[in-house]
Structures are given as C-alpha cells and as structure tokens.
Amino acid sequence: MDEMTTGATPATESIISIRSMHKWYGDFHVLSDINLEVQSQEKIVICGPSGSGKSTLIRCINRLEEHQRGQIIVDGTELTNDIKNIEKVRAEVGMVFQHFNLFPHLSILDNLTLGPIWVRKTPKKEAEEAAMMYLEKVHIAEQAKKFPGQLSGGQQQRVAIARSLCMNPKVMLFDEPTSALDPEMIKEVLDVMIDLAREGMTMLVVTHEMGFAKSVADRVMFMDYGQIVEQNSPHEFFDNPQHERTRLFLSQIL
C-alpha cells in the first residue's frame, strides 16, 4: 500500500482519480495540474498554508466547485456538467465542513435521516434506526431529539460526521473539521475520526492537526500556490521533507 507508483496503477482500482486538473476563479489560477489517485480505504491528510487551495481541491471532488480542465473520476463516474452524475457522486461522497452546516430547523435525528430518506429512498423507520446507530457511534445518542442550536460545537461536528455516515459513503471529505472548535472539543471530534479511520473508511482530511496525521494518515500531502508540492508517508513527510517550502511550513506549525 505504501508504494507511490504514480500513474502505474490502473484507474479502475482508484476510488478517486484526478488527472491534470486545473481550476480558475475568474482569472485566478487557483489549482494547477493536480494529479491524485486515492485507493479505497486510504487516508490522506492535506496540509498547506492558507489560500493554497486545499479547500478548493476537496470541494472539486464532490463538485461544490467546478474544475475547468482535466478529469475527476469518483468511483467510476466522471464529473461533468451532467447533474445526474453529480448527484450520484455526491451521494457516495460524504463531506464534513469547518462550520458544521447542520440544518438548524431540523432535529438532530431529522438532520441524519434527511439524506437517506430523500436521496436513498430508505423507509423512514429504517433510516431512523440507522441514524440512532450512528449517533451511538459518535457518542451522542441522547441528544437525538434536540436541535443543532442547543448543542456545543464539538457535539455539532460529531452530528455532522454522523449525518454523512448515514449515507453510507464510500469516501469522506473533511475540510478543517476541528479548526472552528475550542481546544477541549477538538479531541472528541478527532477520536471519532480516528475510529472511523480504523474501520477502513477512505478519508481525505484537510487539517493542521499533525498528531492526527501522524497516527492515522497513509499519506500526507503538502499544497502550496495551488499545486501538490510533496506527498509521502507521514514518517518520511515529517522526518525527511524533500522541499524547502515544506520544511518552512512544518517549521511554522510544529
């Protein structure tokens, strides 16, 4: 699993493959020539300075942002303008946001069952049972009847993770899931993510929590100026960074 034979792996084995992808915001070339193959069950941590395009990259994977050149193929479906394909990919890819983005007008339970009921057409009762199971898993089952506004940040983020899991996603994307949280809540969210990693979920995580990267990542990726500068196993990445920019970045955050 540790071999980094870029390009040699046949595309069919990757759950996500991104090939020579470029993206612009107006005139601004925000992502440049991105190539990335993600194997099933792989955990990738993405880090890099602010504005380097980390969020933009993972938001392209579920088409919250549109790329202009190159290919993005998720679970065999290429992302194009075809809305049916986009919805199909989105149903398979869960996303956890920095600011949770729970639906404040729905109870926790309804937040969780919404996707399964309307997208997967799961019967209500079944969806609720599954939702309770996932709430159990993120240690928050007793809050099922409450509304998001009544929970702490850490609890809300765990609900958000459970909401994504309810869709039985093949891939989970995390965009700085702990950076809006108070320090004492970060651990409870990271613990849930570590459990998830142990169970074999494919995960792409944008985070500056280097402890998390060291303990669960298969690969750590460093981005700067819209490019993937360097990627390596956590051990190599932290102990023996190849690029000057990576070293500078690591010296700033560690």
């Binding site: 579920n62 989105r90 946001f97 996707g115 309307w118 997208v119 998001p148 994504s164």
Partner: protein, 364 residues
C-alpha cells in the same frame, strides 16, 4: 446548583423594595427618567380629560337597537345604525331569505382557519378538508343545487366578499410569490428576467390601476362573447398584486440564508427541488414572517379598493346604509364598527404570526 440552594455558602438578600413589586415596576417603567415622568403625567392628564366623555358617549348615553328617531334625541352614540342595518352591512345584496348561505360559508371558513392554526394539524388530510370545505362554500354561495336558487356573483357582497377576496388573495399570492422569488434567483436568464419584469412592473403601479385594468381594459382584449366574471377578475388582480410584494420579501429571506446550508444540502446529494423544499424555504420563509404578515395585512385592508370597480365589499355596504337619509348623521358610529371589525381580523393574524414564530424557533 441544587446543593448550593440547600446549603447556601452566604446570605442571599431580597432586592430593595424600590426594585420589585408595583412600586418598582412604576419606577422602572414610568418614572425612570425626568422626561419619562413628564410624559407619564401628561398622558395621565390627557386620559383623565378624554376617557370619561368617551365612555359616556359610547356606552352610558348610547342607543343600541332603536329607531333612528330615538337617536336624534339622545346625546350619546347611535349604535342602532349598525344593529338596524346589520343584515345589509354584512350580506349586502345577497337575496333576503338566502342569507344563511353566506353566513354558513363564513362560519365554515372561520372554522377551517381556526382548525388550521394548530401545526399538528398540518397533514395531508388538512388539504382534503380545505378542498371539501371550499367546494361546500362555493356551492352554498352560488347555489343551483338542492333547491337553492342561483345567486350570481354580482350579488355577492358585504363581509363574505371581503373575506373571499382577501382570503384567496393571500392564500394564492403566497405560493405564487415564493415561486417568483425562486424564479428571480434562477440561473436561467429567461426565467430570471421574466420574473424581474413581472415583479417590477406590478410594483410600479398602484392596486387601483390594476383593478381598473382588470375590469375595464382586460375585457376589451377578450374575443367577442367571452366574458370572465368580474369578481374573478378583481380577485386575480389582487392576487397578482400581492404576489409581487411577497416575492421581494421572500427573496430577502433567501438571500439571508448562509451558503453553508446550500453546500451541506448539495453534499448530501439532494436535488435542487429537495434542497429548496426541505432546507432553504422552511428557514427563509420563517425569517421573513414579520414582513410577510405586514404585506398580508395590507392586502386584507386593500380589498376595500374594489369599490372603485363597483363591487360592494363590507366598507361599501356600510356606506350604502349610511346613504339612507334616516341614518346619514351617524357615520362615526358605523365607521367605528368597521374599524373594530378590521382590527379584530388583523390583530388575530398578527398575533398568530408571532405565535408561529415562537413555535418555529429552534434556538439558533
């Protein structure tokens, strides 16, 4: 907490007398600054001057159900102008002996509205009740079956007409307004510009001119022999007018929605329709309850403008009653009655909206 209450670590004193009780309330609400004290005294004086004569006029010296001649003698209010003409004020030109029909219809309408207030009743069955209720009301008003003689819409007047124009005006304008608001934010240029043009055109003209157009100009464009009922045309004008205002208010609510809500819905794989129906509109419409109610209230009151196209709403039937020489002098009393009637309806709507807002509040 409870441990502390049982075993207080220190003494808890009662607040000073001037802070609580009647005295405290008076102090903090009426006499907290020198200008507030001055205003309080002035208002009290004014009330002292005005209230007794008004009460004397309205209640102690008033005539309640008498012939007009009795009123000429008395100093007080002549409520008889209302009670003696109540049939015409309420039912207008609806034929004598048939007035139980609009009466029953209004009761049915009020009953349904009352039943619908409870959010627990907002189920599919409620729609069925409304369908049944509305068809019964229509049948009652128009007749032609079960031995009820036909009453043409031209004879529908008074309170039932006011209720009908305003109720359908609001109920149909609301969803239309929401659709227009969504259309105005559409990415499709054709739909977007159509909605913008519609909204801006309608908001650029007064309701009166729309009513005129619907009653005078619109028929000119219809082919020979085709007529559309006059009440229906007025109704359409009111709906189209109100919808444009609702659309702008709803658009404000849509713009207030954080982008994260759209993104979270997209990330789950919900379609555009599902996102709007399940995530965005429930929140956006809740935010704009206060301004929406403002628009609905003015729509309700603006239905009285239909007099200018010779429809007899409750305001006009009151005026007609006053044109009877026997009652001409008592317009004050008649208009007070109307004001109270309108106030009750408007107040019920606005207090219901406040209750709804509270119920929909989920602590964010």
């Amino acid at each position: 907490m409870s441990d502390q209450a049982k075993n207080p670590p220190r003494d808890y004193l009662k607040p000073p007398m001037t802070e609580v009780g009647v005295l405290g309330w008076l102090r903090s609400n009426l006499f907290n600054t020198w200008y507030n004290s001055l205003l309080t005294v002035l208002v009290a004086l004014l009330l002292w001057q005005l209230a007794p004569p008004f009460l004397k006029w309205a209640f102690f010296d008033s005539a309640w159900n008498t012939a007009p001649e009795v009123c000429y003698e008395s100093e007080g209010a002549c409520w008889s102008v209302v009670s003696k003409n109540i049939n015409f004020i309420i039912f207008g030109f609806f034929p004598d002996g048939q007035q139980w029909r609009p009466g029953l219809s209004m009761l049915l309408l009020l009953g349904l509205v009352f039943y619908s207030r409870d959010r627990n009743h907002w189920r599919r069955s409620l729609g069925v009740y409304w369908l049944i209720g509305l068809s019964v009301m229509g049948t009652l008003m128009y007749g032609g079956v079960f031995g009820m003689p036909v009453v043409e819409t031209a004879q529908w007047s008074g309170l039932p007409l006011t209720f009908m124009l305003s109720f359908f005006g609001m109920v149909a304008a609301y969803p239309l307004g929401v659709l227009l608001a969504l259309g105005r934010r559409s990415r499709m240029p054709a739909i977007k510009s159509l909605c913008v043009i519609y909204i801006e055109l309608i908001r650029g003209v007064p309701l009166i001119s729309l009513l005129f157009m619907s009653s005078i100009m619109f028929p000119l464009f219809l082919p020979e022999g085709v007529t559309i009922d006059k009440v229906l045309r007025a109704q359409a004008a009111i709906i189209l007018f109100t919808a444009a205002y609702i659309a702008e208010v709803v658009r404000g609510g849509l713009q207030a929605m954080p982008r994260g809500q759209f993104e979270a819905a997209d990330a789950l794989g919900l379609t555009y329709n599902q996102t709007m129906r399940l995530i965005i509109l429930p929140q956006a419409l809740k935010i704009v309850i206060p301004p929406t109610v403002g628009i609905l209230l003015s729509a309700f009151k603006d239905t009285s403008l239909v007099v200018i196209i010779a429809l007899y709403d409750v305001l006009k039937t009151t005026k007609v009653s006053l044109s009877n020489p026997k009652w001409t002098g008592f317009s004050t009393e008649a208009y007070i009655f109307l004001a109270v009637l309108y106030f009750i309806c408007c107040y019920a709507m606005s207090s219901y909206s406040r209750r709804l807002e509270k119920e929909l509040h989920t602590g964010h």
